[in-house]
């Protein structure tokens, strides 16, 4: 085996490719995360209503997204659901990075199920008396929820929310299966061209580990900052 030589990554158009891969991966992760948090919060709120139909619908959503593999969900969106859309929409999407769009939607919606469960767990752990005290002061249900219940629920759910954020970030690598030019796709591409397997893989490994570590320490930092002062 030839000695490890990282300079190969700086040759030709590899740096550009790697940069593209990095940027795409980060864009995909951020957009999917925003979608997951938005939808997840709405779902958690909907689940708290008294409507049995609403609760069953959210439960079904959560069960589906947690029991079907992420890769299969991406394939279903890109190869399956895409074909159900009206031809005009399909054409438009294909011209505007269709693979990226569907990967974002797939990962975002899948993780929304986990986020909604995390929030639901946090909300359930807040004693009813907190809500009662807020209502007794004259706050509306929504105000009580926003100012008293949710802030406490999020603090409790924070560790699992951070875990699932890391999971979402790792799941972006699956977008390579439908041709999204993110970091893993680029890695495989360069490896097959240059045969410098160790160098490329090590680089990508360090990037993924670095960002995962960053997310986890960021989470711990946030937990400490938000912690309520006590005795």
């Amino acid at each position: 085996m030839s000695p490890v030589d990282f300079s190969v990554l700086a040759k030709g158009d590899y740096p550009q490719l790697i940069a593209q891969g990095l940027v795409t991966m980060l864009e995909l992760a951020l957009l999917a995360w925003l979608l997951a948090v938005l939808v997840g919060t709405v779902l958690a709120l909907v689940r708290m209503t008294t409507s049995r139909l609403a609760q069953s619908a959210v439960a079904a959503w959560v069960e589906y997204h947690q029991n079907v593999p992420m890769l299969v969900q991406i394939l279903l969106w890109y190869f399956g659901i895409a074909t159900l859309l009206p031809p005009g929409v399909q054409l438009w999407i294909n011209r505007h990075a269709g693979e990226f769009v569907f990967a974002t939607i797939a990962v975002g919606l899948a993780m929304s199920a986990y986020i909604s469960e995390d929030l639901r767990g946090g909300i359930r752990s807040i004693p009813k008396s907190q809500l009662e005290a807020a209502r007794a002061l004259g706050l509306t249900y929504l105000q009580s929820f926003r100012k008293v219940v949710l802030p406490q629920a999020v603090r409790i759910a924070l560790p699992t929310l951070v875990n699932h954020t890391v999971l979402l970030f790792k799941n972006t690598s699956l977008a390579m299966a439908i041709g999204v030019v993110e970091l893993t796709y680029v890695t495989r591409d360069i490896e097959s061209q240059s045969f410098k397997t160790v160098e490329v893989y090590l680089f990508t490994t360090v990037v993924y580990l670095g960002i995962s570590l960053l997310l986890m320490t960021g989470g711990s930092f946030l937990e400490r900052r938000l912690a309520v002062p006590g005795r």
Binding site: S129, Q130, E132, A133, A134, R135, A136, L137, G138, L139, T140, Q143, K147, V148, P151, Q152, R155, V228, P229, G230, R231
Partner: protein
């Protein structure tokens, strides 16, 4: 009985929890400035009764009037109404993620739309009144039980309610902290606040209550001024309750 309308009036009130008859044919009034102590054995419906006043519990029969208004009328805005009734819980229920100041300021700023500066000034005043001025930026987790309950009283007072309801305010406190809370309540009573207090603290009743309602099995069995109730209860059930209270 003065000719001024009572602040709180119960008219033939009944409440059931499924089969269980929690409140039975309650008829009573609280006049302005009056301090009423509600006592009785556990399960007698004392807490349930005061919780119906701000509709934390709902009734199935009868009417309740607050400042002359039927509190179950369709035209009543529930949240606005609740903001008008001060309620102090047995387990304080302070909001742990907010500082003492924010706890007190939350409702005035959100419901009454007061400015933060005004609300904070008021909070400082009220904290002085309950003896906790220095704790204005502390968090509930840093306070003792007695201090938390006093903050809870200040929080309720911040809305300038015409009447205050106390649901066993000292029952969850260690004995040495009961006094500081009762002192605040006594000073409120002396300043003319209309109060209904569910409590076991008989000395408090003797000192500041105008009337005692004795409840048993969902009914107000006996009423009277504290002195005659404690020294000479008229009903057998009241006698039994008072002797149990004294013997332990």
């Amino acid at each position: 009985m003065s000719s001024v309308a009572p602040i709180i009036r119960f008219e033939a009130v009944d409440k059931w929890y499924a089969e269980y008859h929690a409140l039975a044919n309650i008829n009573a009034e609280v006049a302005k400035g009056e301090v009423v102590v509600v006592c009785g054995p556990s399960g007698s419906g004392k807490s349930t009764l005061i919780r119906t006043v701000n509709r934390l519990e709902e009734i199935q029969k009868g009417r309740i009037y607050f400042e002359g208004q039927d509190i179950h009328a369709g035209s009543l805005e529930l949240n606005k109404f609740r903001s008008h009734v001060g309620f102090v819980f047995q387990s304080f229920n302070l909001f742990p993620h907010l500082s003492v100041a924010d706890n007190i300021m939350l409702a005035p700023t959100t419901v009454l739309k007061r400015s933060k500066a005004d609300a904070r000034d008021k909070a400082a005043q009220l904290l002085t009144r309950v003896g906790l001025a220095s704790k204005i930026d502390a968090y509930p987790g840093q306070l003792s039980g007695g201090q938390q309950q006093r903050v809870a009283i200040a929080r309720a007072l911040a809305m300038d309610p015409p009447a205050m309801l106390f649901d066993e305010p000292t029952s969850a406190l260690d004995p040495e902290m009961v006094g500081e809370v009762l002192q605040v309540m006594k000073s409120l009573a002396r300043d003319g606040m209309t109060m209904i207090c569910v409590t076991h603290e008989m000395n408090f009743a003797r000192e500041v209550a105008d009337r005692v309602w004795f409840m048993d099995e969902g009914r107000i069995v006996e009423t009277g001024d504290p002195e005659s109730f404690f020294s000479n209860p008229k009903t057998e059930r009241a006698r039994r309750f008072l002797s149990d209270l004294r013997s332990h």
